[in-house]
Assembly symmetry: C2
């Protein structure tokens, strides 16, 4: 019942990731984790906000974490990159109250 | 004692905002709120991570919030923009343990 889905947000159009979230929810996932690195971080925040405001209103952001990851590039040098994890949960209890 | 400082993160070099955080802490602020909108969001995450990992190790991220704001542009059209608020707190108790 508490199926978790992870969606990696990258540089594709925002709507692709929104569709991925909506599809996962419709397939029974109750919790979505959006993960993004570097410049895709603002993309992930956009996805979370648009899903919550326009597509699935009874979805809550229950946790946001940020961290740093070391990435080794092709030339052998390693750089640090920031990452974000946004956990969204469909609040079924809120939906039930609204329906009644 | 619990002075809060707000730093708005924009498109200037990351190091400018890191310096602003360090300066505020050295001037007695115990809590820093980093605010950023749109494409500056990943910048704010970078600032928080670099401060925590390299400059002030006894600083903790105590809260992260994301939201949407309506912005009216010069041409009269309004668009939605995502924003992030990252609250950093200097954990003096941890610092005291390390010193002893």
């Amino acid at each position: 019942m508490s199926k978790k889905s992870i969606i990696y947000v990258g540089s594709k159009p925002t709507m692709n990731y929104i569709l991925a979230v909506v599809t996962q929810i419709n397939h029974g996932a109750s919790s979505i984790i959006l993960k993004a690195r570097g410049r895709a971080i603002n993309h992930a925040v956009d996805v979370a906000e648009i899903v919550r405001n326009s597509f699935i209103p009874d979805m809550d952001i229950i946790n946001i974490e940020i961290a740093t990851e070391e990435v080794t590039e092709r030339n052998g040098f390693s750089t640090n990159v920031s990452l974000i994890e946004i956990e969204l949960k469909k609040d079924d209890s809120i939906a039930d109250i609204r329906k009644s």
